[in-house]
Amino acid sequence: MLKPSLRDNFTYFIIIAHYISAALFFLAIAILLVFSSESFIGHYFHPKILAITHITTLGWISFIIIGSLYQLVPVISNKKIFSPMISLVTYLCVSIGTVLLAFSFWIFDTGFLIKTAAGLLFMGITLFLINILLTVRQSKENSIEMDFIQASIFWFWLTAFIGALLAFNFQYAFLPKEHLYYLKIHAHIGLIGWFLCLIIGVSSKLIPMFLLSGKLNTNYLSYCYYLINFGLLGFIIDALFLNGLERAPIYSIIILSGISFFLYFISNAFKTRARKKIDINLKHTYISFFFIAIPIILWGILKFKVIADKQIELQISTAIVFSLLFGFITLLILGQTFKNLAFIVWLKKYQEISGKERTPLPKDLYSGKLATAQLYLFIISYITILCGILMSNSFTIKFGAICLMITAILYNINVLKIVLHKSNSMPLV
């Protein structure tokens, strides 16, 4: 059993390891995008797209989320993470699993390598689920935010489970329907169940707190919770055991109505905020919530057959996933990293001496100018890549990918600046 101080240090270093790894994965995504821009023209079931998508979803987004949850769950539940040692094993399994998975997709090795990767990922994610559930179980605090977080982790586990089945299905082809059919289910659970539920749970707690919002009606979050989770559950049961994907648009509308309750809640948080001056991190958040409209509009165009062209439909499908992962989630993360990571490092360095000595503020731990440049460069890269995908133009995608690479470099510099921050307090006079 670790001593309390050692246990806290251990958890701190695991959180930092997640942020650093995620930043490096983000840079890797941008570099891979530069060298594979032509893969984004044509069917999305392409080895390079699969590799980049899995680095994005696991190495980049999930790593940031897992690192943040190790800090956030104790704050919400008032309990320390059940086992920092399990966190370490999760980190090792997911990081090695992600690299192996991406590599096996890139070279399209569907044998031993991909199965090892899938096994490691499934084990790591199962341990993560157990660790968080055991942490939350010790707590008496109940909140809708915590319900969202728990549900999202369950969906994460299910995504990994179906993903592992798909990895084995490459070689043994034991699933009754075609591979792509299950890939769609896997992607929907991951995007809606894991990412969306998690983002809703975390941001409905953090955004009103950062903005000092007035009294908000959390019933909207409850409606959102039930609509999204029942919609997704209905979609999965129908797809796996009943009528296939025929009724998918109905479930999509249920889920979209859930999302609209969340957006209404967030717009109220912005409207009633006492903090009128919005910093660069919240600006990222603000814009990302506007960008969520893009995949929804694209989805509408696809579902209502506005453009009846197979090639364009494929490009729109790729664009929907890209705009969800980048326009919405990545932009949200790019801003929130400097809020959360700077806060985590600041607490570690200055909590004990705060009030006794003059300390820098969390915002002094990173460069605001770099964060501003990062925001504008990211918007340019996102819009450019999105247009490139929709127009099937690999040169445009490559140009956008180069901008994304510069964005990722700026992001990495700022992340390193925060984690390498040296204490520099001064005596109070």
Binding site: V75, N78, L212, Y350
Partner: protein, 107 residues
């Protein structure tokens, strides 16, 4: 004519000192934030503060509490410091002072 008693003068002085305590996230002092509900100066050697936070699970809560304690210990080294966390009434933007509103950009 003396408008304030010695006890009241001391309590005003304490409020003034507590302006040194800044919420590191919002960059506003806790007095202008309206987080201090009550100050009690007991000449027999105890200062008690009724303090709230903008939200119950505020991650900066411990930092603010420690800073209040350190600040008062520095100015009143011979006094015992007591901090009561109070959640009623719940903090709202109405508790901001005009200076606090200006800092947050509320016109």
């Amino acid at each position: 004519m003396n408008l304030y008693t010695d006890k009241e003068k001391r309590e005003i002085e304490i409020l003034h000192f507590l302006k040194e305590v800044i919420d590191p996230e919002l960059e506003i002092n806790i007095i202008d934030m309206g987080l201090v509900y009550k100050v009690n100066y007991d000449e027999e050697g105890k200062i008690t503060i009724n303090l709230t936070l903008s939200t119950k699970n505020c991650p900066m809560g411990d930092v603010i509490i420690n800073s209040v304690e350190s600040c008062l210990k520095r100015h009143f080294p011979e006094f015992e410091i007591g901090i009561n966390m109070v959640w009623e009434p719940k903090w709202s933007r109405d508790f901001l002072t005009p200076a606090g509103k200006k800092e947050l950009g509320i016109s």
